[in-house]
């Protein structure tokens, strides 16, 4: 057996032996995932699963071991993902720290910052939120106004963020602040601070899905130390160079969000044929819906191939740096189309918003949630602008 196949066999055996049965049931929605943090709410099996995976470094399989990762190669990490998928093991930890801040620290952080912050993320001890958007600065993020004034050994932060996902539940924030009013992109600083600091308040915003996963976040004379001791700076990279970090992080965020395009398990058509009924030839008995479902099955399989190619070329350094924007565009638009069809196929049943039979309108709420996919982390239109400019090099884009 080749090394990788030995690794596959051992991994599968370990997962079988260690994954709690509850963690092999599908995740119902975002709140059903394990987010860790200082004030966690665990469902049965979640903490055990997170801890035992963290011990192996497999909450972040491809991070270096010294920062709490698994130190796996691209091929091994791919195998781990495949085996977890095959055995229906849940992801042990959902985290903005893993998806966004971690990669940015690995790229731009000092050794002290990496040693301090990364293991906390890997073990699910600190839950992070992302303070980017402001009421006046969405797509044009670099116009942000939240200020951080240098006061010697600390900054004083004032301003307002919006759409801060899970700000009310997060422990720390990675926040874009303005440290130079005379510059746009070159006046932004990437700052890390505790959400328990005096002067930070959050106010949940109710969404069309009925949930309130994100907040308005207010900063009122918040004192942010320049150092957390032992050379651990609160600024990532350098003052006024936060835009470089922000952009790099957005690349990871976009790749991550695009992953939704490939989610959703097996064939949608096969699933709905069983529910809706079949004709005497065994075909789904609504021919127009059948055609739409087959189209989506094709798009899903095609997108999965694209995601695999994207991952492989990315790791090999062969991928255009703007390619995550393309992936985000395609993946999120596909996820929206998929949910449109799930609603169509579900008919009147999935319209029930509160009944027990629909688990409190879960499908309808998920359908509404997908509409944010092409807004959060940069809108589809902004993705197309970036592709036009950076990949196609169209003039004036």
């Amino acid at each position: 057996m080749s090394d990788i196949e030995t690794f596959r066999a051992e991994t599968a055996a370990w997962l079988e032996a260690n994954c709690p049965p509850e963690m092999r049931e599908p995740v119902v929605d975002e709140s059903d995932a394990c987010w860790g943090g200082r004030n966690p709410t665990y469902k049965p099996g979640q903490k055990e699963w997170m801890d035992i995976m963290a011990e192996k470094g497999w909450t972040v399989p491809d991070w270096p071991k010294e920062y709490g990762g698994g130190g796996l190669s691209r091929a091994e990490a791919k195998v781990l993902g495949q085996e977890m998928g095959r055995l229906k093991c849940r992801s042990p930890l959902s985290s903005f720290g893993i998806w966004m801040l971690g990669p940015a620290l690995l790229q731009f952080g000092t050794e002290e910052q990496k040693k301090h912050f990364l293991p906390q993320i890997a073990r699910g001890e600190i839950r992070w939120c992302q303070g980017y958007s402001e009421p006046g600065s969405g797509s044009d993020l670099a116009s942000l106004q939240t200020s951080a004034i240098d006061q010697g050994d600390h900054y004083v932060v004032n301003g307002q963020k919006i759409w801060t996902s899970y700000a009310d539940k997060a422990d720390w924030i990675f926040c874009l602040t303005r440290t130079d009013k005379n510059e746009k992109h070159k006046g932004i600083t990437f700052l890390l601070f505790d959400m328990a600091s005096e002067g930070v308040t959050t106010k949940p915003i109710k969404l069309i899905s009925g949930a309130s996963p994100f907040c308005e976040t207010f900063f009122d004379d918040v004192k942010v130390p320049k150092s957390y001791g032992d050379g651990i700076s609160s600024v990532v990279y350098e003052e006024n160079k936060g835009w470089d970090v922000a952009k790099y992080l957005l690349g990871h965020e976009r790749s991550m969000i695009s992953g939704q395009g490939g989610s959703g398990g097996g064939s949608l058509g096969a699933k709905f044929a069983d529910q809706i009924g079949r004709d005497e030839m065994g075909r789904l008995d609504d021919p127009m819906l059948r055609a739409d479902l087959a189209d989506i099955d094709i798009e899903l399989l095609a997108f999965r191939a694209m995601a695999e190619r994207f991952g492989d070329t990315f790791k090999a350094g062969l991928c255009h740096p703007a390619q995550p924007n393309m992936m985000k565009y395609v993946g999120t638009e596909l996820n929206k189309s998929r949910y449109e069809l799930i609603m169509t196929a579900g008919g009147s049943e999935v319209l029930e918003w509160e009944s027990e039979a629909t688990n409190g309108g879960l499908t309808a709420r998920d359908w509404l949630r997908t509409k944010a996919n092409s807004i959060e982390g940069g809108t589809s239109e902004v993705m197309l602008n970036v592709v036009s400019k950076q990949i196609l090099q169209l003039p004036g884009a």
Binding site: S267, G269, A270, F272, A273, R278, G282, R283, L284, R290, A291, L293, A294, D295, D297, I298, E299, L301, A302, F303, A305, M306, E308, R309, F310, D312, T313, A316, L318, M326, Y329, V330, E381, M383, L384, N385, V387, S388, I391, L392, L394, P395, G396, A397
Partner: protein
Amino acid sequence: MPLFLNEDQQMLQDSAADFMKGEGDVAHFREFRDKNCKDGFSHDLWKKFAEMGFTGILISEDEGGLGLGHVEAGVVLEQIGRNLTPSPFLTTAVAGVEALNAGGQAMREKYFPGILSGDSVLAVAIDEGAKHRPDQISMAATREGNGFKLDGKKQFVVQGGSADTLIVAARTSGSAGDDKGLTLFAVDTSSDGLSRNSVRLVDSAVAAHVEFDGVIVDADAVIGEVDEGDAVLKRMLNAGRAGSAAETVGVGAGSMDITIDYVKGRKQFDKIIGTFQALQHRLSHLYSEMEVARATVLKAQQMLDEGSDKAELMISVAKAKAGKAAALSVKEGVQMHGGVGMTDEYDIGLYMKRDRALAEFMGDANYHTNLVAEMHGY
């Protein structure tokens, strides 16, 4: 295996790109179209394909070929698509050879030397109606002495006019719609009772209507087993569909590139039209579709080379996805060229015509979408 070309495949891509651009570019295509040549391609160029080794890409090294796989065949086909290179490569070196690879040694020894030298041209005779319906084949092959007698008609036999040998699917038992009862034959086009009517297609390629009127073939013309031709046919179709999907990606990518170039040069309203966001977003959407199509086709070819039992599903996904992406590319291409997109002088319309013909070859996007539903059991 990572989902990108390895170093050897990259080198093959470079040499195929140089070759098609140097020897078989759009100017070459126009030359052969305009002189109204009867075969629609240059036999000299086909000889050069052989010198490059391309005609033996799917023939084993033991038998004198390159012994490569469907990924490599696709690499060559993408360049053919990009340059609109007229050649019988897809029907001969991909579909034809793959059918013969399912045949016995004697058969391979008979046909491979001519293919390797570039003297031989093969065509596949499957379709009997305007749409690709291989499960509905009704052409009859009845036992006669030591061999078979073929009676019936085939159409859309691409390169059928210039081919010396046809790979013919006919019924030796059962009736249209049955899985079993098909047999594949290698038939000499000079056989008595075989007549061909060549027709020029919208893309200037030449296809034939072929009539079989009591054509007698020996038992050794059978490829594989009698009545078990479905397996050989499947193998040939898999190769041909994956290959034509790769060529389709080439056509779509070529058309996209010339369109992007065009919008970077044309001025209206005192501005380069490529600065208008209405065009930028559509081009970026097109780019995304082409990228997804390319990944899908490569995945299907890798799976076919690995012998995966899901390869057939992925080939249908690839044929459908590549077909849609390339169709979008040529439509947007003509539109964004404005009035000149309608002229024969500009190349974009040639891509549109090539895409249309390629879409029909071995099943269009609708056909393969239906297959995907069937393979998923609905």
